[in-house]
């Protein structure tokens, strides 16, 4: 399958490992990524805070470029922020013709135009889970991640606000299932769709670090060997700021943070270097050594219905199970 | 007041769902344009296609047919018959050069006053855009010894 590919600024540099691993696993899964020609920054959450139209124009330019690059109509964004901005732009333009007209008037200044709805923007996780599917994934696993306890971390934008809804807004499960398909043991991680803090570390360090602490601490409490992310911003906060966080709170947590594409690569038996493993600041070497170890019994997770003889009262089964 | 074309639309409602929806719209003081005038039938199944032709021929610019939702007919399944006749009628009307927008089938349960009101508002706008239906003998209907009705702002 052929997709337009929008790496975004982070994947160029700080999340190069994400880019690398994404491209590395695409091949065995029979996905072809065609990178968008001369794309620009999506504006993150900052641009729209200052100029509405200009921020839409930024994303619209990317969409226009994508249409130019290939007529496939499907654009994959591994970065959740880019994914959100691109979908937001397309949706708003579809819903408001007057806005669309203005945006196109702006694009015209650069000799471009974009017809709302002509690009279907999707997150990499969505594509892998729904186009490739778990069966195909399992088929590709040569080195199952058995023995590895992972905390799946979705962050905000894949779950919310849900301009494109492929998972639950509160307790998403697709990444859990994907990791299970790779053989890893998924720990019950209730904060999986919480916010990583975004730019908070910059504008209010204490708050930002506190938000990071909650996530890392909980993953650690729940017995996770590592946290698996699907977004470069989340990875940056949880990984790069983990040291600062430890110092700030006098903690000594050490929970490595990898991308789900890196986990896939590992399970597919690809070479660690080819997946950019090692570029994380909190080293994952020790954690990854656990792979192959025999898993212990169920960690966390809601308790099963209790036996009759037990004093405990039965409880309803959860509606959604990973 | 500027001279806007005020279409006249005849609405056929069934006694059990859509006529009561119209009552409900009233009870809820929901606003819609005064361009529609309703005729009560027992069931949309009673609607003889010639009623619609007669309406258009006699000066109506559009006709709305409404009844209970499919599966909710007070007479079990008669609205399905209405639906079949509607589709035949539509084809025939297009043959006769009547714009499709002039005849509309709208399902409205007794609880859907708001829905009916908004459907009426929509249709009046569409027919206003289409302009008068210039069938022979038509035209006289709108002509009342009154100034043209003002366009309502639907709530």
């Amino acid at each position: 399958m052929k997709y337009g590919y929008f790496p975004g600024c982070s994947l160029e540099r700080n999340a190069a490992a994400y880019d690398k691993s994404a491209r590395a696993v695409a091949e065995p899964l029979g996905m072809e990524f065609v990178e968008v020609e001369d794309w620009n920054c999506c504006g993150a959450t900052e641009y729209i805070s200052l100029n509405l139209l200009a921020s839409y124009a930024l994303s619209a330019r990317n969409l226009a470029q994508a249409v130019r690059t290939d007529g496939l109509g499907e654009l994959v964004a591994p970065c959740s922020a880019c994914y959100l901005n691109l979908t937001k732009c397309d949706k708003s333009m579809r819903e408001s013709p007057s806005l669309a007209a203005k945006v196109n008037e702006a694009l015209a200044a650069g000799g471009l135009s974009y017809k709302p709805g002509s690009m279907r923007v999707r997150h990499l996780l969505d594509v892998i889970v729904n186009d490739i599917g778990f069966e195909a994934l399992r088929a590709k696993v040569t080195r199952p991640l058995t023995g590895l306890k992972v905390a799946p971390f979705y962050g905000c934008f894949v779950a919310r606000p849900g301009y494109v809804q492929f998972d639950d807004t509160e307790f998403p499960v697709t990444l859990d299932r994907l990791l299970q398909a790779l053989g890893a043991e998924v720990v019950d991680f209730p904060l999986k769709a919480q916010c990583c803090g975004g730019h908070m570390t910059q504008i209010s360090e204490g708050m930002g670090l506190e938000m990071i602490r909650r996530l890392v601490k909980t993953a650690d409490d729940r017995g996770a060997d590592l946290i698996v992310t699907i977004c470069p911003m989340c990875q940056l906060n949880l990984d790069a700021f983990q040291g600062a966080m430890n110092r700030h709170f006098g903690l000594n947590l050490h929970v490595p943070v990898l991308y789900f594409t890196q986990m896939m690569g590992l399970a597919f038996g690809l070479d660690q270097a080819a997946l950019g493993i090692g570029s994380e600041l909190v080293s994952s070497r020790a954690a990854l050594a656990a792979i192959g170890a025999t898993p212990e019994g169920e960690a966390g997770g809601p308790p099963k219905r209790v036996k009759k003889d037990d004093k405990a009262l039965p409880m309803p089964a959860p509606l959604m199970r990973a | 007041m500027t001279e806007v074309f005020e279409p006249v639309i005849i609405g056929f409602t069934c006694n059990w769902c859509s006529y009561r929806a119209a009552d409900l719209a009233g009870i809820g003081r929901m606003k819609y344009p005064p361009n529609i005038r309703l005729i009560r039938l027992m069931c949309s199944g009673r609607l003889d296609p010639t009623f619609v032709l007669k309406a258009l021929a006699s000066g109506a610019d559009g006709v709305m047919i409404s009844g209970c939702h499919p599966g909710e007919c007070h007479y079990l399944e008669q609205n399905y018959k209405a639906m079949r006749r509607y589709h035949l009628l539509k084809r025939m009307l297009t043959q006769m050069g009547v714009e499709p927008g002039r005849v509309k089938l709208v399902w409205a349960s007794a609880a859907e006053g708001a829905r009916l009101a908004s459907e009426i508002t929509k249709m009046v706008e569409e027919v206003r855009a289409l302009g008068p239906l210039n069938w022979p003998t038509a035209g006289a209907a709108a002509a009342l010894p009154e100034k043209p009705a003002a366009l309502e702002v639907p709530a």
Partner: protein, 665 residues
Amino acid sequence: MTEKIGVYICHCGSNIAGTVDCPEVSRWAAEALKARGVVVARDYKFMCSSLGQELIEKDIKELGLTRVVVGACSPHLHEPTFRGACGRAGLNPYLCEMVSLREQVSWVHTDKAAATAKAKAVVSGGVERVIHHEPLESLRVPIHPATLIVGGGIAGIQAALEIADSGTPVYLVEREPSIGGHMAQFDKTFPTLDCSACILTPKMVTVGAHPNITMLTYAEVTNVDGFVGNFAVTIRQKPRYVKADLCNGCAVCEEKCPKKVVDEVFEAGLGYRKVIYRPFAQAVPKYPVIDRENCTFFLKGTCKACEKFCPTGAIDFEQKEEIITIQVGNIILATGFDLFDARRIPQFGLGRLPNVFSSLEFERLCNAAGPTNGRVVMRDGVTTPRAVGIVHCVGSRDKHYNNYCSSICCMQSLKFAHLVEERTGATVYNFYIDMRTPAKGYDEFYQRLLEEGVIFIRGRVAEVTDVPQRPEEEGRLVVQVEDTLIGQQRRIPLDMVILSAGLEPRHDAKQVAKMFGISCSADGWYIEKHPKLDPIATMTEGIYIAGVAQGPKDIPASVAQGAAAAARVMGRIQQKEIALEPVRASIDETRCSGCRICNNMCPFNAILYHADKAVSEVNPALCQGCGTCVAACPAGAISGTVFSDQQVLSQLEGLLLRNLQPATV
């Protein structure tokens, strides 16, 4: 002959006159429609008042009116009134036509000129139509004295007792093995805190013993035919695998049955029951049922413990389901509600966090006859909570789930708060959006809870979590909420959280409504005939609704509505027969070509074909007057009273004011 028509325009106070220039409309009618036979046109403040009606009667007598047109509210409201007036003055009631100037003109339009113009057209339509009215006699249908009540909850029980006591037969159909409904699951009832079972079970017993009541429990209505006065109802009696005539309710079978399963219905999933069971000790009827899905004998072919130990040999594994058909004149639907499944709001933790309980789970938890004998303990079955949070509006007042207020949750939550406080001494928090305690003695109960020191935090709970942020939160549940009265986010550590889930229409309410020919509101509740003046009847003659099935309400309101529905039915039975609109189709044999197109148009098989004469004929007893055959007849041989082609087409002419042009007159 030309008719003498009287036109009467009602002001309805300012309801119509506020937007329609009524005097102008009647002036216009008298003038413009003179040529069409209008001899008098009047407008009056309230046509429906006795004075207004006298106006019409006087004119009929003095001016010899042969037709009457009243422009007022919806015919669904006052048509009987004005037909009555005509009748009293010696004019056939069906020579009166009512057009709606209120619901369909003044209330929905704002521009006075336009509304007045439309009113004129509507009146003119009425005048043209009435010309073609014929004098008719209303059809009189006998009322079968028996009544069907669907649903054995408190509303159905009340209705059944009222009617049975009046001396006419009642069939009470209940889906579950016992009557009692949700009320039987409760321990206490607000605001008086009297024991639910103590006030309910006597009524249940009376029902069970009542000579005029036939109880059909563990049974469901599968089909309804016919119309008011004479419904034919088909009921499926599920096999109990217990012979009612032999069983003495000793419950030895229950005791001996080796298999336990979680009771998802009566115990709300919080407790267990045997596979042969009565939902609860005071169940009515007293005979148990075997749950086939789980019975070891039905699964593996061995066991039969119940049969071995039954002293009366009442167990019968061979029992088959029975199809019962009954004739009834009226039907009351009291099918109740389903509890909103709070697991649909994952951030509240039900099903994920052990110590989060649904409201029904808690009802069972605090019930003396419940799984813990009324001990309020945490999910482990032993620990007493020190701090308990009660979350209001779960699944209610939320566009994602149910937009409406479930109306009982505030009081229910106050009741829970009191019970928890009383039985555990725990600190109790209520998290509410708005406190709604409108009925008799309710706000006093709120006051009492305030006195008891229950804590109230105004704010809709954002989430319930087991992830600690501060040391004091370790190992506990935490409710995160904005305390909107101080404008701060708070995290309250708790041991137990109770979700006051809202009320929802039964999952199958739509199918049931369809089966009985009534309709559901957008929310899924059964629609009453009039929201204020007739909250008991439905749009369908002979079908009444009572209890929560009509909309969220508490026990006193359900009882009141059950009794009201009963009174209505008893009135009907008293009259012995009911007058129906003579809306019927008839075939003119001379014009019928015998093409038989109409035959399969009729859903009621009211049209029979006489092969000998090669003509079709309508059986007026079966015809319901939908008119589909009238529209279908290629020869125009079928005509429908009250809605004849002529009547409709003339009204059309009138509405389009074609009647004003001499050419077409």
